[in-house]
């Protein structure tokens, strides 16, 4: 077990290295010149050249990458071009917000999705099932921006149950998490529904019923765990999405997460920040997947670690 973990950690490091290398390459394939973005419109060619030299952008690509890696091993993510601050500090400042939103969002998503999926599977073909199906499609077809604003209108402006914007208290996290949860729950609901339909036809569910167990226990203790494998995988995937891809919701609710940082950095070609965010979210994704792989055998004892 420990050995396996060790192996996966080494693989994780390799994946991160791969991500770093590809990202670096891609960023330098961009025609946009970070030095010019920093220098702005009034700068003379000399100023631009100076900035480029100071940033080390005039070095060969490999040299740049190498020195980046050297910094990386020492835990140094570099300095932002535009903000002239440690990238590590910038990311660390936003990490708590991202992690909180991730946890809350996934919580809502999974809770809602699993619940709806189970209900739909039980009431298969019925009205409730249709309704859940509709709802899940509304969720995935809704543009995030509009959905977020609608929720904001209803719950923050009209009802004033929650603050409109900001970060700090539990009330603040409710709406963004709800938005993400509602939009993402459709996936879970559909996956759970189809897995549950399969499981509910299995003999062991029949056995459980023969024991006279409550429907609740049959569904949630006997059937659901057998349908959870894809959900676990989905959570692994979602961790990645949340680490880098919730710009819109963050923006609408003024949530100081990493998404906004990344988005701004991309606009400004602030390579160190892009690299930093990429690596951090890559790490989260790999860890998420690792977690999913480790949890799967716990849920299904038949899957023994290979």
């Amino acid at each position: 077990m420990a050995f396996l973990l060790l192996r996966r950690l080494v693989q994780t490091a390799l994946i991160l290295l791969g991500v770093a290398a590809i990202t670096f390459l891609l960023l330098y394939a961009l025609p946009a010149d970070p030095a010019r973005m920093i220098a702005g419109r009034s700068a003379t060619a000399q100023t631009v050249a100076n900035i480029r030299r100071e940033l080390g952008l005039d070095q060969p690509l490999l040299v740049q990458f190498w020195s980046y890696l050297q910094g990386l091993v020492q835990g140094d993510l570099g300095r932002s071009y535009a903000q002239k601050t440690d990238v590590g500090t910038l990311i660390a400042a936003r990490l708590p917000a991202t992690l909180i939103l991730m946890a809350a969002g996934i919580f809502v998503e999974v809770l809602l999705g699993v619940f709806l999926g189970v209900v739909a599977a039980i009431r298969r073909g019925g009205f409730v099932d249709r309704l859940v199906m509709m709802a899940s499609f509304v969720g995935v077809s809704a543009p995030q921006f509009v959905a977020a604003l609608l929720l904001l209108y209803v719950f923050a402006v009209t009802l004033a149950w929650f603050p409109m914007s900001g970060f700090g208290s539990f009330a603040h996290v409710v709406l963004p998490a709800l938005t993400l949860g509602i939009l993402g729950a459709g996936w879970y609901a559909r996956m759970v529904r189809s897995a549950m339909i399969d499981v509910l036809n299995q003999d062991y569910v029949r056995t459980a019923r023969a024991k006279g167990l409550s429907s609740f226990r049959i569904i949630f203790r006997h059937a659901l765990p057998n349908a959870l494998l894809p959900v676990i995988a989905m959570i692994g995937i979602d961790i990645g999405q949340f680490m880098s891809g919730v710009v819109v919701v963050e923006a609408v609710y003024g949530w100081p997460g990493i998404g906004q940082l990344a988005w701004q950095a991309i606009q400004q070609v602030d390579i160190p920040i892009i690299m930093g965010v990429t690596l951090v979210s890559a790490l989260a994704i790999v860890l998420g997947n690792l977690l999913a792989d480790l949890v799967a055998p716990l849920i299904d004892p038949r899957i023994r670690a290979r």
Binding site: L6, D203, R206, R209, A210, G212, L213, R217, I299, D300
Partner: protein, 556 residues
């Protein structure tokens, strides 16, 4: 005989199977009563509707495919078929408990044995965790499972077929139900355990006044257990009555046939091999110089391989020091305690699980072969798995499943394959319409026959048959066994024949090996082992075989 109202009364029960072609009647006007403290045995043809009847009583018919068309089911005068779901819940498990036919798929793969046992106890007796698990442990002990405490923490896939069956029984008995419906409860058990289980059920009946519906193919069990007997065929009850009259003077033709077909231990005493079936076969095929299957020092460990760095789990051998040869045209019968490693041996000799030691099929060491190199070997060596349902792809029509080995090994063209499938189905006693149906639409015995047909499809040289006739009623079983013998004679097939039914072993085997605790404790010719058993365990096995004769029970 009391005149009191029956505990369970079934009257005119009709069940339809819903098919794309419209409803098909699988139960037709079934009526019988179960009196308090009585044991009612249902015997009959495979696929005759025994399991469907019991499912109907439990209210557990699969909604998607089976539906009660008419009739009533009354428990102590209460109509069950009209009960609400929640009212039915307290009946299930508490008043009526059931042991299902297929233990492999009837246990939840992701829950530990302990949890599956205790939850029912808690549900119906409201005992706290501690007492519930104490009860569970006691029940496991009562069904004679080895190391019951360890089993509590294990998962179904880690248990042998027989162990799972015993878990199922323990589960059903743990709540002390008024009515116990047991669908082939002892099919997968060796006879010594079977005897113990049957005793247990009798005790239960005596202690708690429970009534029992016992579905079984084993006329020995019927004779030993039944107060009354119901004989079913094609969804109908052909005969019912007290056990003695039925055994003594069966009225219906089918009942007569059924009883006539019952194999009796010792029927073949004094002979060396199985009886000859095919008149056309050569008088005697000379024994080949080299064996079809040669096994030396086989050992199998379950669990993780120890990994160099930090060490893995400590491994217990499920099988060790197993060596034997099987020559073509011969059968090695493998008997033994449940969990003794029979299935494990069977899987290992076909290279389906990792093993240590040497296994040679047709002279070829399989340990070192790649998947590709294995393929021709697979054609000549087939396996019939202990659990037919689990070993069939639920999404593949039965016809396709049987044709699959043909396809895999590139035998015949499309129409030849269709013909071959139809032929095989006929030979194992299934209608040609079976080809287009799916595994879940069959009875346990029918599925077993499908698996046999699939193994026979490619005309292999060696078949590992793991309890492969356990779920068949005696008449079909006799036909299937005859078929297997005939193939052996005509084509020189070799069998590794795993069974707990001593009569069947006696009928089929040239040689017999007895396993216990992962080792072979006794091996020899059939005659030697059956007529002069050396090992104490073998002797116990012989003694425990139930005799299909009610009066003898009384005098015993």
């Amino acid at each position: 005989m009391t005149t009191a109202a029956p505990v369970l009364g079934i009257d005119g029960l009709c069940v339809d199977a819903l098919t794309p072609q419209g409803p098909r009647r699988v139960l037709d006007a079934v009526s019988f009563n179960l009196m308090s403290g009585e044991t009612l045995c249902i015997a009959g043809e495979s696929g005759s509707g025994k399991s469907v009847t019991s499912l109907a009583v439990m209210g557990l018919l699969p909604k998607a495919s089976l539906r009660i068309a008419s009739g009533s089911i009354k428990l102590e005068g209460r109509e069950l078929s009209k009960l609400s779901n929640s009212a039915m819940r307290s009946v299930r498990g508490g008043d009526v408990a059931m042991v299902f036919q297929e233990p492999m798929t009837s246990l939840n793969p992701v829950m530990s044995i302990g949890e599956q046992l205790t939850e029912a106890i808690r549900e119906h007796q409201g005992s706290e965790g501690g007492t519930a698990s104490a009860v569970a442990l006691r029940m496991l002990d009562a069904v004679h499972i080895t190391e019951p405490a360890r089993r509590m923490t294990q998962y179904p896939h880690e248990l042998s077929g027989g162990m799972r069956q015993r878990v199922m029984i323990a589960m059903a008995l743990s709540c002390r139900p008024k009515v116990l419906i047991a669908d082939e409860p002892t099919t997968a058990l060796d006879v010594t355990v079977q005897a113990q289980i049957l005793t247990l059920m009798k005790e239960l009946k005596r202690e708690f006044g429970a009534s029992i519906v016992l579905i079984t193919h084993d006329m020995g069990v019927v004779a030993q257990m039944a107060d009354r007997v119901v004989i079913m065929q094609q969804g109908r009850i052909v005969e019912q009555g007290d056990v003695l009259p039925i055994f003594r003077s069966p009225r219906e033709r089918y009942t007569q046939e059924l009883l006539a077909a019952v194999p009796r231990l010792g029927a073949h005493a004094g002979t060396d091999g199985p009886p000859r079936i095919a008149a056309t076969a050569a008088a005697s095929v000379p024994r080949a110089a080299s064996p079809v299957l040669s096994v030396r020092d086989l050992a199998v460990h379950y669990g993780k391989k120890p990994s160099g760095l930090l060490g893995g789990k400590k491994l217990a051998a499920a099988v060790s020091d197993v060596s034997f040869d099987i020559f073509s045209g011969e059968t090695l019968g493998l008997v033994g305690e449940s969990g003794s490693g029979k299935s494990t041996t069977g899987k290992a000799v076909l290279g389906l699980i990792p093993f240590d030691g040497d296994v040679a099929i047709d002279g070829q060491q399989i340990g070192a072969l790649s998947q590709r190199q294995m393929r021709p070997v697979r054609r000549s060596a087939q396996m019939i798995f202990q659990d037919p349902y689990a070993s069939l792809d639920p999404r593949m029509a039965v016809g396709a499943a049987i044709a699959e080995p043909l396809l895999i090994h590139g035998i015949g063209n499309r129409s030849e394959r269709t013909d071959r499938v139809a032929d095989l189905l006929r030979r194992v006693g299934l209608g040609p319409d079976a080809a287009s149906r799916y595994p879940h639409e069959f009875s346990g015995g029918q599925r077993q026959r499908i698996c046999i047909a699939r193994a026979l499809a490619v005309n292999p040289k060696l078949i590992v048959a793991d309890e492969s006739v356990a779920a068949l009623d005696v008449s079909v079983r006799a036909r299937v066994l005859d078929l297997m013998l005939e193939l052996q004679e005509t084509m020189g097939l070799a069998y590794l024949f795993v069974s707990h039914d001593m009569a069947v072993i006696e009928r089929m085997s040239h040689h017999v090996a007895v396993m216990r605790g992962g080792r072979i404790v006794e091996m020899g010719t059939r005659r030697a082992v059956f007529e002069d058993p050396q090992d104490a365990y073998t002797r116990a096995l012989m003694a425990a075989v139930p005799l299909p004769d009610p009066p003898m029970r009384k005098s015993a």
